[in-house]
Symmetry: C2
Subunit: 337 residues, 2 copies
């Protein structure tokens, strides 16, 4: 019943060759003669041979395994990213070890140790909020190649794939000011990450450039419920904003819900703009103006950066920055007086 998997030895003895020859066949070496190869492949197929990659790694030090750590698996920003990573890895015959740090640096450390123990060839890390800036250096000392994605800690010591959040916020702000908005609020999150820092930077840069007024920065939990609750705080801002730019689409959707609960029409009485352009942006009411960051594309690029680094460890640091696109829908309303 629970029959053991055949090994190289088994194949070898049936095919009447040595273990080493079978190994060469498995690895598609050109050293082996055509007729031997065919004979061995036949036996492998008959016995349903599956190469033990763990044992192989022990000898040649390549597990064809990469670790991916994300802070969240519910937000589709991260799952689209993950889809991109997984797809490229699958094409390259690699396997993805997945874990969710829940934005907790301690958990993230545990996961890293565990992945290290499993012999991953490299890591794609979306660092948890509060990750020690020394982590990239530590991983380098471990000899564990890493690509950071979507967020970044440390002084640009590793490859990185992300989006230009500053520019993204700029596009959104430009859109709002062009519509005539002068008092703009920012609905942010509590957890501090490079992604948040960049967005805030983009916000103040855009304010400076356009001469619009910072109507206040509200912080909410990163859930739509949190954002819905924050609607009242936004409405209570003394500067009376006419538009709110949101950290991401989840918050924007929640905010619109909260506004409606407070009997304000998002898009008419208050312009709302999201960031990320998740699929849900088209399903909200009114459909949401947002800034597309293409997380799936960032995922494929992160995966490619990692495989390049694995192939050539000494190569210079590389960065992929996705330029965002503004998607105008209805939540930002029309030109105001």
């Amino acid at each position: 019943m629970n029959t053991k998997r055949p090994t190289l030895e088994d194949i070898a003895s049936v095919a009447g060759v040595s273990r080493a020859t079978v190994s060469l066949v498995v690895r598609q070496s050109p050293l082996v003669a055509e007729h031997t190869r065919l004979k061995v492949e036949k036996v492998m197929a008959d016995l349903d041979y599956v190469r033990d990659i763990g044992a192989a790694r022990l000898r040649n030090n390549s597990s064809r395994t990469v670790g991916v750590i994300v802070p969240n698996l519910v937000n589709s920003f991260f799952t689209e990213f993950l889809t991109g990573v997984e797809q490229v890895m699958r094409e390259q015959d690699r396997v993805v070890l997945l874990a969710n740090s829940e934005d907790d640096p301690r958990r993230q450390d545990e996961i890293l140790q565990r992945f290290r123990g499993h012999g991953v060839d490299g890591m794609i890390l979306c660092p948890a909020a509060g990750t020690d800036a020394a982590l990239p250096g530590r991983m380098q000392r471990w000899g564990l190649p890493m690509v950071q994605a979507l967020r970044e800690v440390g002084a640009q010591e590793t490859d990185y794939a992300g989006a230009d959040y500053v520019a993204g916020v700029g596009l959104a702000m430009q859109h709002l000011t062009a519509l005539g908005h002068r008092r703009i609020a920012f609905l942010s999150v509590r957890a501090m990450t490079s992604a948040k820092a960049e967005r805030l930077k983009g916000f103040s840069m855009a304010l400076a450039k356009s001469g619009a007024i910072d109507a206040g920065i509200i912080e909410a939990d990163l859930t739509w419920e949190g954002a819905a609750l924050a609607a009242n705080a936004v409405l209570a801002l003394p500067a009376r904003p006419t538009a709110v730019l949101c950290f991401n689409d989840v918050l924007a959707a929640g905010l619109m819900l909260g506004l409606r609960r407070a009997d304000r029409q998002p898009g008419r009485e208050m312009a709302v703009v999201g960031l990320d352009d998740l699929p849900l942006a088209e399903l909200t009411y009114p459909p949401m103006t947002s800034v597309a960051m293409c997380p799936a594309r960032i995922g494929t690029e992160a995966a490619r950066l990692l495989t390049r680094r694995l192939a050539e460890p000494g190569r210079p640091i590389e960065r992929f920055i996705q330029f965002p696109t503004l998607m105008v829908r209805e939540s930002s309303g029309t030109k105001i007086v």
Copy 2:
């Protein structure tokens, strides 16, 4: 720079004991004397020892690795499920190998072989549409324990965790008929899975029980765009349905969008009910009546079923069926005449 990780041998020589003793310490064996244990643990900490699980597996045949295959990583039904699985596995010090079959049985087979090669201890499989019913038997012959989740193929030969889709559809239909609807349509998907079969079964059972009329079954692509396009087909149904039950929330959201594009108010001119109660159900307009299936809970139960099976391979087949809950919001409208 790229210093190799220390091995048991390294620890042993520094601590002045044998490799075997260090191995016992690593595995927290009670056989080792207190003072030796402390000494060895000190050295392990100093040298930053990480146990090589791959090498361990080679000898003792437990990789503490499980494979998870889902058909889709964008639909949050599956990612919530995945969150549940990952969490339990993390608590049990196991690692998750993730892959996306994209609902393609060929791809799924490739992934299974790859995971087999990586020596996974077991699998949690959400079988792709069109999966051969013989797969569970084949995996059993491989000696690869598996739990099916959310969907199922074969004759209940494996552990299974899922939701009671028949009952879920029943709840939704009961709600609609109680509101006075007599002509009800079903917006379905093209791909055939056990989940679809159960829902259709629930639909006809509920029709029979309530005496309502099957106003037609429309099939759409499993995207909200597909559902939006299907809105016209729904409106063109000769039976003129007053309510539509949808395969899941993604389709329901898309359908509502399509209805609005065709100038029909979902919830007023056409009742719409979804299944799954994804987070987006509260964000649509009007908020969506749906049936909660608690995929995260199903995920944790699937993980527990697998670890139980791994601990005790001979135990009888077990099934976990989550009972669904109706979440009434506004898209189903109010009582009609």
